[in-house]
């Protein structure tokens, strides 16, 4: 019997592929550390197919589709990308002066100033350091990045039914929450609760730890701290800190339920990044680097697996056309698939139908001045109990004349409230909410845009939702190919609504295809 050591890793995987199919390759790859889920990205090691010119059809010119075109054309595949809309980029959408927002029945034109600094990222807007694939492409394609403040201590938390309806600084909330928690723990130490589990020396250290963590007084009580922000003085007169918020009021409030710990999710953990000049920088860079044809205004009419490959019909330029290819990579939103004629197995379509359509809503305002900077806020997010949920302040172009803020961000069930409105009604509503947090907000607004992804042309949704049940039943079915057809995109990942999910899904599909190509080639060679 051959020892593993005698085989190269790649050859071994080929053997696994022949024996066990793509699931086996995937599991084995993970076990061998070939594919890292976060950490350092796997180098795509795809086989050159130059001589035989294998063809690939990519459906959808979003991030996943663009990455497939980019990678596969480099190893000799002949790639064609079909995109239903007139725009390349999918949900990666940066709005600037004159851009059209193609919402069904309610088109808007972005009326921001004709100035490259005035833009709004209506789709992806943040990149955390662990999204290795997005960052790798940015590095490779020379897409400039900058730090984006996400969690901001000087920003506000506002709850209409708490703290007298007044916005309070996030720093104050954190300091008081920690202070009270520490005081309670200190009391517990004093009551000898830990005497059995900790040594006297450790108990002393715990006492110091909680005092330091909550900035307690020598007697272990919490009486407010400068960590919550300086109320007055601090430079040439002594500083004063805020009175602590009552413990009961803190417990009653809701900020601790999500906002307080939001940055502890790795996807939102500061420092985050954004693409300088707008998130569509990565789309532009891909388009510049890709030589394959990207056909826009090409709506798919049918997808069929054939004995030799995949046949796709589409409309373009008033004609019905057909393309055949060896492989098909499909990022069309899953909720459209049941209404595109196909010859896929019933359970495959059942799986695509079982995922729930998600919805996101974003709204942006061009402000005539950067009034938040006068309040000591430089980037980051204010959270409010109002339906707009959040206000985002721009991290870039500090102290420039104007700025674009995100004036509303609603997810899934909450989006419907805004979707029902006309664009003008949405702006008006969001202006009222902003006014509660920043008096004078409305007067600062010069222009606004709203993007309800659940109503956007050729999208009708964003961020599919996989219930645990559906995941258990269909994940493998949808992640793995149906014939020579691969579903992909953020929808086929554990990172729905993130570009990293889209890229990981595309990478998985390409590697799976590559294994099949290698296995088939190996079999042919064997036969000869």
């Amino acid at each position: 019997m051959m020892k593993i050591n005698d085989l190269s890793r790649r050859n071994f995987l080929n053997l696994v592929g022949v024996a066990g199919g793509s699931t086996a390759i995937y599991q084995t790859s993970l076990a061998m550390g070939v594919m890292s889920e976060t950490g350092k990205p796997a180098k795509l090691d795809l086989k050159q197919v130059k001589g035989e010119k294998k063809s690939v059809l990519v459906l959808g010119a979003g991030i996943s589709g663009l990455s497939v075109a980019y990678e596969l054309e480099r190893v000799g595949y002949q790639v064609t990308v079909l995109e239903a809309s007139k725009r390349i980029g999918g949900r990666n959408l940066t709005l600037r002066h004159g851009d059209e927002i193609d919402e069904l029945g309610q088109k808007q034109i972005c009326e921001f100033d004709d100035d490259p600094k005035m833009y709004f990222n209506a789709g992806p807007a943040r990149i955390p350091g662990h999204h290795r694939r997005v960052l790798q492409y940015c590095k490779m394609l020379k897409v400039p990045l900058q730090i984006k403040t996400n969690f901001s201590r000087p920003a506000y938390t506002h709850e209409a039914d708490h703290f007298g309806g007044e916005p309070i600084r996030v720093s104050r909330y954190i300091a008081d929450a920690r202070g009270f928690l520490s005081e309670l723990l200190h009391k517990a130490v004093d009551k000898n609760i830990f005497d059995e589990s900790l040594s006297p020396e450790e108990i002393e250290k715990l006492r110091d730890f909680v005092k330091n963590y909550g900035d307690l007084k020598a007697d272990g009580t919490y009486q407010g701290t400068i960590r919550g922000g300086i109320k007055s003085g601090g430079m040439v007169i002594p500083s004063a800190s805020h009175e602590p918020i009552e413990l009961r009021a803190l417990l009653d409030s809701n900020f601790w339920r999500s906002g307080l710990v939001s940055s502890e999710n790795p996807d939102w953990g500061d420092p985050l990044m954004e693409i300088s000049g707008g998130m569509d920088g990565i789309v532009k860079a891909f388009v510049e680097a890709i030589r394959s044809e990207i056909v826009t205004n090409a709506q798919v009419q049918s997808i069929r697996n054939t004995t030799e490959g995949v046949a796709v019909e589409y409309h373009h330029g008033g004609k019905r056309k057909q393309l055949k290819a060896d492989w098909c990579f499909n990022s069309i939103p899953s909720h459209f698939m049941p209404s595109i004629p196909n010859n896929f197995a019933d359970d495959y379509i059942a799986g695509l139908s079982a995922m729930s359509r998600g919805n996101f809503f974003k709204l942006g305002f061009q402000m005539k001045s950067r009034f938040w900077e006068d309040e000591g806020i430089y980037g980051g997010i204010t959270r409010t109990s109002q339906r707009i949920n959040q206000i985002w302040y721009p991290s870039a172009d500090i102290h420039s004349e104007k700025g674009v803020v995100l004036g509303a961000y609603a997810f899934h069930g909450q989006s419907g409230f805004f979707e029902k409105m006309t664009p003008a009604e949405r702006l008006n509503f969001a202006a009222d909410c902003g006014e509660v947090v920043h008096p004078g907000y409305r007067d600062q607004i010069e222009a606004g845009v709203s993007v309800p992804w659940g109503r956007m042309n050729h999208m009708m949704g964003c961020g599919v939702i996989w219930s645990d049940e559906v995941r258990a039943k269909y994940w493998d079915r949808l992640r793995l190919p149906e014939g020579r057809h691969y579903m992909m995109g953020d929808q086929i990942s554990y990172h729905s609504s993130w570009q990293e999910g889209a890229l990981a899904s595309a990478e998985f599909a390409m590697q799976d295809m590559d294994q099949r190509v290698r296995a088939a080639d190996a079999a042919t060679t064997e036969a000869k």
Partner: protein, 213 residues
């Protein structure tokens, strides 16, 4: 049984014949009407995930009437009619000419009949349907003069949703909507949820004729 087979064969020939003759399954929407296909699917075959019904081959007079209903705010304004609310903005800004074009396009399409998703007592449904005949036609073909909607070829879940809309003040609530208010009253003939399931199951057995418009 045998009769059914012959009936479907005749039907298939009818469809196939007209398809090759006029190429109706190849209808390509003008740019402005691609929007319809985003939700209603290729050839307007319907999409249950978006609650967008099959419209293929629907009589143009009926399409016009419904688009106008949406435009007037007779349909798609009730807060619980979520699918209607999604549709309404599409119709709100349409001009008469655009409505005309949309109706023509819809009538020119064709697709396979929708899958049945609702199981009810078809026999009981047929009995209940007797009070619908006058306006909606024996075969569910509709009646232009009486403005009775064609029902054959619609998705069963859509017919059910509309009956429930009528019964719950979400449709037929505006007095200017003469035919809608009539239908709202008529929907009260169905006394229970079971009645609704039964009649919907029966309607789903009605075969639409391919229109030659």
């Amino acid at each position: 049984m045998k009769g059914d087979v012959i009936k479907s064969l005749v039907f298939l020939l009818l469809v196939a014949g007209s398809l090759s003759a006029n190429g109706k399954d190849r209808s390509i929407p003008p740019d402005d009407l691609v929007y319809c296909t985003v939700c209603h699917g290729v050839n307007l075959m319907g999409n249950s995930l978006l609650k967008a019904p099959r419209l293929s081959g629907m009589a143009s007079w009926h399409v016009k009437q419904q688009l106008q209903s949406f435009r007037h705010g007779w349909r798609g304004v009730h807060e619980k009619d979520l699918a209607g609310l999604e549709m309404r903005p599409m119709a709100r800004e349409l001009t008469d000419k655009q409505i005309e074009q949309a109706a023509k396009f819809v009538a020119s399409t064709w697709s396979d009949l929708p899958r049945k998703t609702i199981k009810g007592d078809v026999g009981h449904g047929k009995m209940l349907y007797q009070s619908c005949l006058a306006c909606h036609g024996r075969e569910g073909e509709g009646n232009e003069t009486l403005r009775g909607s064609p029902l054959a070829g619609l998705n069963d879940w859509y017919v059910k949703a509309q009956l429930e809309n009528y019964q719950n003040e979400r449709r037929g609530h505006n007095t200017e909507d003469v035919y809608g208010t009539q239908m709202k009253a008529a929907s009260m003939v169905l006394n229970s949820e079971v009645d609704v399931l039964d009649i919907v199951s029966y309607i789903a057995t009605l075969q639409p004729k391919l229109r030659q418009e």
